[in-house]
Amino acid sequence: MHPTTLMYTSSLLLMFAVLLYPLLVTFTSLPLNNDWASSHAKTAVKSAFLISLAPLSLFLSTGMEAVTSSWTWMVTTTLDITLSFKFDHYSIIFIPIALYVTWSILEFATWYMHSDPLMNRFFKYLLTFLVAMLILVSANNLFQLFIGWEGVGIMSFLLIGWWHGRADANTAALQAVLYNRVGDIGLILGMAWLATNVNSWDIQQMFILSKNLDMTLPLLGLILAATGKSAQFGLHPWLPAAMEGPTPVSALLHSSTMVVAGIFLLIRMSPLMENNQTALTLCLCLGALTTMFTATCALTQNDIKKIVAFSTSSQLGLMMVTIGLNQPQLAFLHICTHAFFKAMLFLCSGSVIHSLNDEQDIRKMGGLHHLAPFTSSCLTVGSLALTGTPFLAGFFSKDAIIEALNTSHVNAWALTLTLIATSFTAIYSLRVIFFVTMGTPRFLPLSPINENNPAVINPLKRLAWGSIFGGLLVMLNINLFKTPVLTMPAELKLAALAVSILGLLTALELATLTSKQFKVTPLRTPHHFSTSLGFVPAIIHRQIPQLSLLLGQKIASQMVDQTWLEKTGPKAIANATTPLASATSNMQQGLIKTYLTLFLMTLVLVTLISTT
């Protein structure tokens, strides 16, 4: 084996071993020591991160990619499934970033979940999730990817419903599972079509053999899978509801890693989509609709975690738009930079929430710039990176996406929606910063504001470095597959920056209105649309169950019980003959002996007459 491939494969194997060892320890009956979470779990992830830097540096210096096929799992007459791993540009860069973010989140979680008696189980779930995510990212065939896909789905369910005594948390976990299941239908459709038509689930074989086939149906299936997993419009309500889970769960699963799995699937399968205009247009329009809708919903939310969740959803829509532009690598870049600043935003929210004694409403925060300066600075840095401030992390990916959008010959409606959503990003980011860090405090006086714990400071510091330099580092070290358009009119070049600044100024103006009464009667309709999340959960979550239950009632009670059994079946016979019987018995005089004697006489008479 070539030494580079050997290095890649052995690093991945070592990473899996390092991450699985703490999990296997929990399955034996040895009691865990009190700081198992920080001594074993967090250290395992940190070591895995350091190990993953080796393939990364090798890739950066040689640019060599590898595919490893090892153990043959099953051999049927038409389909072979082996355990195969793909070390390409996408997985080698994503794995260290995911491990870096997870390391910071686990260290933060040792502080956040400190008072939870089941903290060790929490860390076990997070580690299981991480292993499933790595399986998904490094998979070279769809079967292995499906294993990782389902693994992250089930761990998401277990972690969202962590506080399962709370009914809302159970509902949210169920929502996550159901919406992901609808997406899984699409993935299984794609897999089945590919298995029957292209005869393989290996990525290399699929790409070669699908050159002349019409791939619309499996691509629609894969897009449905991405819609479910990455919360695009139509299957999006589970993502804001998933904020019922603890903040480390929201930071890891629902911002950096799990929700990008759908986009990652589309990025991996992008050679199949290059020539299919239907699929590309669908991605573009769906992504534009998602990013606009969720940015609108984020404008009027009052829960800090929900605002960040909708922000995640909006960025996922932006990634979908990028895939629709046939630029999968830019989408991947946005995944990488987004992981840094979104995880940091969630960790800052977690720090603020715990400091204010579990207060999540931004209307009851304020003035934290003086009381928790480090957290609010990180919040500001993260928000600036999110809005695409030049030369922070988000700028390199977001600006490249918007430039590609502006200079391409695609749907102008999608372009307009994306630009409006970009300005909305600035608006709700400023809203968060204004309500949380600026102004006067609106919380109770005896709040335990304390950010002096190194378990809080160090993760935030690391993610802040990532949010500032991450984009630059990634951009400097990769080769872009597609040449970007480098010359464009100045208005298009500055469009992203201009709409963001416009949004910022609008938000500043609106922020000053919080202490004045601008209109006697406010404009309620758009506010209601935005706060009620477009009425989508209210309608869909009630209408569909009501229709199902109504159908059940119609079939069971009305069709079977009332119609078939009563009106046309057994009871109908009884209901029809009872009036006849009572009429007959009313007519009878009851002279039975007379009747029978007459009968016998008649019979004898007839017999005698007929025989003579």
Partner: protein, 98 residues
């Protein structure tokens, strides 16, 4: 008429006369009904033996099954009469009628 034919016919006729001329209790009428059924059963059984026709061997069994239903219906009527009219006597049935 062969002796067998005469015997069965007279048994049936006697049963029918008993059904028609019963005096007091409804139960005696039902017993005569059972006697008619018995005569018919023996007739059907002898039919296939006398005529060497094995095809109608199942007819007696079918008749038995249906007569069981009929006997149970008759007994139910007896019980209903006893419930509504107090006795099983025949003259109670038109006692309170105009």
């Amino acid at each position: 008429m062969t002796p067998t034919h005469f015997t069965i016919s007279s048994a049936f006729l006697l049963g029918m006369m008993g059904l028609a001329f019963h005096r007091t209790h409804l139960l005696s009428a039902l017993l005569c009904l059972e006697a008619m059924m018995l005569a018919l059963f023996i007739a059907l059984s002898l039919w296939s033996l006398q005529l060497d026709a094995t095809g109608c061997s199942t007819a007696p069994m079918l008749m038995l099954a249906f007569s069981a239903c009929e006997a149970s219906a008759g007994l139910a009527l007896l019980v209903a009469t006893a419930r509504t009219h107090g006795t099983g006597h025949m003259q109670a049935l038109n006692l309170l009628q105009c």
